[in-house]
């Protein structure tokens, strides 16, 4: 977690308090609300994984990805196909397979986009991922075997043995457990020495490559890891919603992943979770008010413009100091150096 504890003078730490606060809140949601609201919250947690996946790419390794929904959707389709064509709905199989699909797909795309001869620019990667997501959406929309424009209804519930896991509190806790595991794993990765390299890359990629780091390989690694998390979210989504369609694979959802991240605050991990909670709660509330419904996309767009223009650090920027957002990395021998490093490498996340 944030801070290694051996720094001589420690500033007040808000991030761990926030993290634990959010976790406790999420743990008691099903006890406080109806089944219906628990299901809505479950969906948000799934999207939170997608947001974390985006944050890993943009907030930690400078990959502007407009294609996270591609891995999400691809895993969702695979899960739906397993259920519909083979009748396989066991949770112990669906979860690892979804992760594997996300991992392999993102590795292949990362390989193609990042590991070429020339160093790719941010724009190249952004357009590359965008194109991939768009192409995939159009492809499944025209492919009859996977339901074409209809998408696929996942008729069966997720099962453990013969026990059916219906959307509700139990499914919620399973999703929450997945989210927590993804979160902790991501936190460990970005605060490790690998994370330090990533932070350095984000600041000055050239300098890091002069040091001898193969920066594109690091990027590809993190991109694949992020794709794995998006895949897990997609597999769970297909079973939770009981439906997966071309829209879950394309640039629409990918853009939402970007919005969640930017709104919550990139380079914080927790920001994505808060971004999903904020945007989805507003959307859910507003869609009850009929007068607002048609204007919701416009309202969302304006909020996003304001956030990007005036608050590039998102919600997290309001809550947590800059020093703490960057945190410290792994274990090192001399803390003095580390402090200096951290000072030098303070990124301006989200503005670059």
């Amino acid at each position: 977690m944030a801070g290694t504890g051996d720094a001589p003078k420690k500033p007040r730490q808000i991030l761990p308090i926030l993290e634990i606060g959010v976790l406790i809140l999420l743990l008691i949601v099903p006890m406080l609300t109806s089944n219906f609201h628990t299901i809505i919250a479950s969906r948000m947690l799934i999207l939170a994984m997608l947001a974390i996946s985006f944050d890993l790419c943009w907030g930690y390794s400078g990959i502007m990805t407009f294609g996270q929904a591609l891995f999400f959707g691809m895993a969702g389709y695979v899960a739906a196909l397993l259920a519909n064509k083979l009748g396989f709905v066991q949770i112990w199989g669906i979860i690892p397979i979804s992760m594997l699909v996300g991992l392999v797909a993102s590795f292949l795309i990362g390989w193609f986009l990042l590991l070429g001869k020339r160093t790719p620019t941010i724009i190249f990667v952004a357009l590359g991922t965008l194109t991939a997501a768009y192409a995939a959406e159009r492809m499944v929309a025209g492919w009859q075997w996977v339901g074409a424009g209809n998408g696929m209804s996942v008729w069966d519930f997720l099962k453990f043995g013969s026990f059916e896991i219906e959307p509700g509190p139990l499914f919620y806790y399973i999703i929450l457990a997945c989210l927590v595991v993804c979160y902790i794993a991501s936190r460990l990765v970005v605060r490790s020495q690998l994370g330090l390299v990533l932070a350095g890359m984000r600041q000055n990629e050239e300098r890091l490559s002069f040091f001898g780091y193969r920066v594109q390989v690091f990027k590809a690694l993190l991109f694949s890891f992020a794709g794995m998390i998006a895949g897990l979210a997609g597999g769970l989504y297909a079973f939770h919603e009981g439906f997966i369609g071309p829209g879950s694979m394309g640039i629409g959802l990918s853009t939402y992943a970007v919005l969640y991240g930017l709104f919550g605050g990139v380079g914080t991990l927790l920001g994505g979770v808060l971004g999903v909670a904020a945007i989805e709660t507003i959307a859910f509330t507003l869609s009850d008010v009929d007068a607002f419904k048609p204007y919701w996309p416009i309202i969302l767009g304006v909020i996003m413009l304001i956030v990007v223009a005036y608050r590039p650090t998102g919600i997290m920027g309001l809550l947590v100091s800059r020093r703490e957002r960057i945190g410290s990395f792994g274990r090192r021998k001399r803390t003095v150096d580390q402090k200096e490093d951290a000072k030098k490498k303070e990124p301006t996340s989200g503005t670059s």
Binding site: A141, G147, F243, G245
Partner: protein, 405 residues
């Protein structure tokens, strides 16, 4: 299209506020229309999930208004066994992804006893799961469709391919002499299965299918297809393109001069189609549906008059291809089912009673569910659009659905 949606939305709201003055209330989540009287065991909650916004909005709004008409008639006559019916609306927004979440509100949050709605098959595929399986609720699907929907607790009250095409296509070939058919289609399940049916009937009657092509639903560029239709000597276009692609396809087909060369069929076209395409593009198009406004049936005429009186300024007409007739029929069949169960609203009991439900009078004529099939038999009419009205060519009584049997 977008401009049109804005305006139609406003007129929809206007129409609904007129209802509020007439004793209905619109509150809270989505729209709720509460009757102005109560019963000890509470109202029967009927959920409507249809496309109020988006590409299919003209049909969705007609559906919602048809449901209001049917329910207001039931309530005016004392409800079902003394219990009033409360209507709850959720917008499926012509987008299956959005719809899944919104339908869930009806099932889990509002706890409705039955849901009617969905227009495209893509929508039915998406929402039948949250309704029937995850929601354990009875579902009535009102639109004409491709058949083969045999899900338990799901009832289809619109026409099937057998009802629409079994007579229409032989008529076009034998009586009108069309020989070379083109099947341009939107790429989803309805056109795919309907075309399979159509191809079989076309070939059995000695005509041929020259081309069968599928396009993404939102494709707007059809010059290659239209060019092929013009050059391959096609004399009849069996059109299953749907909005939003429909408008572009019809326009380009018209502008290429096809209308002087051959005929066209679009089996969901009805009085509401002027909301989608220009009148000149409708001219001469054939359709086969369970009701047309030009038909000579006292009950149907009264129904259309009542509808127009209830929604005086609406541009969404009570028409068959927009599933308004299926919606009305579905509400009335459900009423009969609940009378048969003696007021038991439980899903399994209501579903069992729906299986044998029938109505002596309905839009286009009487109707009944063919037991064990989940589909309804109804009267069917072949018509051609001439100068803005649908000229009925022939009619057939109590046509069986030929599904799931």
């Amino acid at each position: 299209m977008h401009m049109r949606e804005r305006l139609t939305r406003r007129s929809f709201l206007g129409g609904t506020s007129a209802l509020a003055a007439a004793g209905w209330m619109a509150v809270g989540t989505g729209w709720v229309l509460r009757p102005d009287w109560a019963h000890a065991s509470g109202p029967i909650k009927m959920g409507i999930a249809t496309d109020i916004t988006g590409a299919i909005a003209p049909s969705g709004n007609a559906n919602w208004q048809a449901a209001q008409l049917a329910v207001s008639q039931i309530n005016a006559a004392g409800g079902i066994l003394g219990r009033p019916v409360e209507l709850l609306l959720e917008d499926t927004a012509s987008d299956p992804g959005t719809a899944v979440g919104n339908v869930r509100r009806l099932v889990q949050s509002a706890g409705v006893d039955v849901i009617l709605g969905g227009i495209t098959s893509a929508m039915r595929e998406a929402i039948k799961n949250p309704i029937v399986r995850r929601g354990k609720t009875l579902y009535i699907y009102p639109q004409l469709y491709e058949g083969q929907e045999c899900t338990e607790h799901l009832f289809c009250t619109g026409p099937t391919p057998a009802q629409q095409c079994a007579r229409l296509l032989p008529y076009l070939i034998k009586e009108k002499g069309f020989k070379r058919f083109a099947l341009p289609s939107a790429n989803y399940i309805w056109p795919q299965l309907l075309n399979k049916w159509a191809r079989k009937v076309i070939e059995e009657n000695g005509a041929e299918v020259v081309m069968e092509e599928y396009f993404p639903l939102d494709q707007l560029e059809y010059s290659a297809t239209v060019g092929k239709i013009m050059s391959e000597g096609v004399d009849h276009v069996f059109n299953t393109v749907i909005p939003p692609g429909l408008q572009a396809f019809m326009k380009q087909l018209y502008e290429a001069g096809y209308y002087e060369k051959g005929g066209q069929t679009c089996v969901y076209f009805d009085e509401n189609s002027v909301n989608y395409v220009a009148p000149r593009e409708l001219e001469g198009v054939y359709s086969c549906l369970d009701m047309f406004h030009t038909m000579d049936d006292a009950f149907s005429k009264q129904l259309i008059a009542d509808y127009n009186a209830m929604f005086p300024d609406t541009k969404y007409l009570f028409s068959a291809g927009s599933a308004a007739t299926g919606m009305y029929r579905g509400v009335k069949l459900y009423e009969q089912a609940i009378i048969a169960t003696n007021g038991d609203l439980a899903r399994d009991a209501a579903s069992a009673a729906m299986d044998t439900a029938s109505i002596a009078e309905g839009p286009g004529g009487p109707s009944k569910i063919v037991p064990g099939t989940g589909h309804a038999e109804m009267n069917m009419y072949i018509a051609q659009s001439k100068g803005g009205v649908w000229d009925i060519i022939s009619s057939e009584m109590t046509v069986p659905p030929q599904e799931c049997g």
